[in-house]
């Protein structure tokens, strides 16, 4: 019998907070910028400077930790993580070690209708590192270039318990985490710009065993899809190693998106010995309970609550409600549309259907699309009134999506108004019947599919504009 393995995954997620200034100095956190222009003596680690904590960064961290049901520390401090790597000019990173701002939280994920609670070990705050740039490709470049613009941007680290049991669950967790953080408005959460980054600890163990297998750490996954792919690959790799009687080596591996594999990043220098000690340049923090309660009171409606509200108030299915609630901008768009056209199910069908399809196709966010809620509302009204058919509406919608024009204008310009005039349609119906005598005979012989063909022919002649219900009725009448 082939042994059954269980997958064990924990995620370490790093989120850049969207404060205006860096965590310990007043340099800007703006993304991009000419290399080494968003820096000052503090974030460059010049001698004699003193870091001072940005209160907003701490507030955002507490805000997130509360939304993740964490316990907020009463006493906390920063620590120095020492390492020799030029991505930080100081040769150390200010982070947190034994007294993080928050611990012991959880969030719920839903997969195939099952809700699972995933533990959050800790939430802490640290400074982001600078960026290494390679003039040629990373493997052939003879040297590295360093840009410290990102060094010192507040970076929140959220560590999960090893509670995830599949790559799909890992993805669902990351998506839920991103949704929550977006709702909290504390980060841009752009994986492509690196403001949301994710590393994974992965191991497998024989089904039923309590002891964890040896884990590997996977890095360099730049999208939800690559997270899922990388983990699926790594799980399979480990099972294969064990199946061949080998041992999994504890190491860091990088996901290669192009090749679809993980590769060992091990180097002979990898002696992880960070020699943490309390950061002497920063005084400890005693977190004011009243402040924490004020932050708690200011928390917005979170994705789960919004999903429940959509099911309860709008009668949406759990699936549709979850999809809308997963992205704040989409949820806001949905609600604005419902205000214009108060038929939530219809609106939801269009947003989760055509709109999502086009957003995915063009790989853009709803905010980057010129379509407005009143326009979508107007389109749905035109369908309801029978001015255009549902099929034509899709063509009109695509034009609205691309150009941001009103549906009425598009229908006028393109002559797409539905033909609901019986006299006009009868002529075409007669023509189609005469030209397709064999199909008509089939229909009369009881082949229902023949009718669909004939409807299609009428649609072809009218370029999709004929009212489909009317065409159906007229064809049936004529062929009786």
């Amino acid at each position: 019998m082939v042994p059954e393995y269980e997958t064990v995954i924990g995620l370490e997620v790093h989120v850049e907070l969207k404060t205006n200034s860096k965590i310990f100095c007043n340099s800007t956190t703006a993304f991009g910028g000419e290399p080494n222009t968003h820096v000052c003596p503090v974030c460059l680690g010049l001698p004699g400077v003193l870091p001072v904590v940005n209160r907003k960064a701490l507030e955002y961290t507490i805000r997130t930790a509360l939304a993740l049901n964490c316990e907020i520390a009463g006493f906390s401090k920063f620590d120095r993580k020492n390492y020799y790597y030029p991505d930080m000019p100081k040769n150390y990173q200010i982070s947190q070690y034994d007294l993080p701002f928050a611990q012991k939280g959880h969030l719920n994920i839903e997969l195939n209708g099952n809700i699972r609670r995933i533990g959050i070990t800790r939430v802490h705050l640290e400074e982001d590192t600078g960026k290494l740039v390679h003039p040629a490709t990373i493997t052939t470049s003879p040297y590295s270039l360093v840009d410290y613009n990102r060094a010192g941007v507040p970076l929140m680290e959220i560590v999960s318990e090893p509670d995830l049991r599949s790559p799909e669950e890992a993805r669902a967790y990351l998506e839920k985490l991103k949704a929550i953080i977006s709702y909290l408005d504390v980060s841009d959460c752009k994986m492509e710009e690196g403001s949301l980054r994710c590393d994974a600890n992965v191991s497998v163990r024989l089904q039923g065993k309590e002891e964890y297998g040896t884990k590997t750490e996977i890095k360099n996954m730049n999208s939800f899809k690559s997270l899922q792919r990388a983990l699926a690959y790594e799980v399979e790799r480990q099972i294969e190693v064990l199946g061949n009687g080998g041992r999994v080596i504890q190491e860091t591996r990088a996901w290669d998106e192009g090749k679809g594999i993980t590769l060992s990043m091990r180097s002979k220098e990898e002696a992880h010995d960070y020699r943490y000690f309390p950061e002497p340049d920063l005084v400890p923090l005693v977190i004011d309970r009243q402040w924490v309660e004020e932050i708690r009171a200011s928390l917005p409606e979170l994705p789960d609550a919004r999903k429940t509200r959509y099911q309860r108030d709008y009668g949406l299915s759990a699936y549709d409600a979850a999809r809308l609630a997963a992205e704040l901008e989409l949820a806001e768009f949905f609600e604005a549309c419902v205000k214009c056209y108060p038929q939530p199910k219809m609106v939801s069908n269009w947003i989760n259907g055509e709109l999502s399809r086009l957003l995915n196709l063009h790989n853009i966010n709803i905010n980057a699309c010129p379509l407005t809620p009143p326009q979508l509302g107007a389109l749905l009204e035109l369908i309801e009134k029978g001015t255009i058919s549902g099929k034509i509406a899709k063509t009109v919608f695509e034009e609205m999506f691309n150009k941001g024009k009103d549906p009425a204008q598009i229908i006028q310009e393109k002559g797409l108004i539905q033909i609901s005039d019986e006299d006009a349609l009868i002529k075409i119906v007669n023509e189609v019947i005469t030209q397709n005598q064999k199909v008509v005979d089939d229909y009369r012989a009881g082949k229902d599919r023949a009718l669909a063909f004939l409807v299609g022919q009428v649609m072809k002649v009218t370029r999709g504009k004929a009212n489909p219900e009317l065409v159906n009725r007229l064809l049936k009448e004529k062929m009786q």
Partner: protein, 105 residues
């Protein structure tokens, strides 16, 4: 922590292999004679620090910092940046507006 609170005063705490390990982490290249010097010096420093263990600290609460201060914050405001010429002024090597360092992967 426990070893620090016990009163034993080991003479030889730091070994040559520990000096080699720390030298590697600090990217220092040491010859044998230098390693001996550091083993000696570090042991002397630690032995000196052992004197603190002679104090009775039973009623002293541990602290993460020497100053009796908490919660020093700044507001989230952007200030002035350094001109890039100054930023790169002390760079041993540079290219365009970047610091240039040995290849790191």
């Amino acid at each position: 922590m426990d070893t620090m609170t016990t009163k034993e005063t080991k003479k030889q705490v730091i070994t040559t292999s520990q000096v080699e390990h720390v030298a590697l982490l600090a990217r220092l290249e040491l010859n044998e004679a230098e390693k001996d010097i550091y083993v000696n010096q570090l042991n002397n420093i630690l032995a000196y620090m052992q004197m603190l263990n002679e104090l009775n600290t039973e009623n002293v609460t541990p602290t993460a910092h020497v100053l009796p201060l908490y919660n020093v914050f700044r507001q989230d405001e952007v200030g002035r940046h350094m001109p890039v010429e100054k930023v790169l002024a002390n760079a041993p090597e540079k290219e365009e507006q970047f610091f240039k360092v040995p290849r790191i992967v």
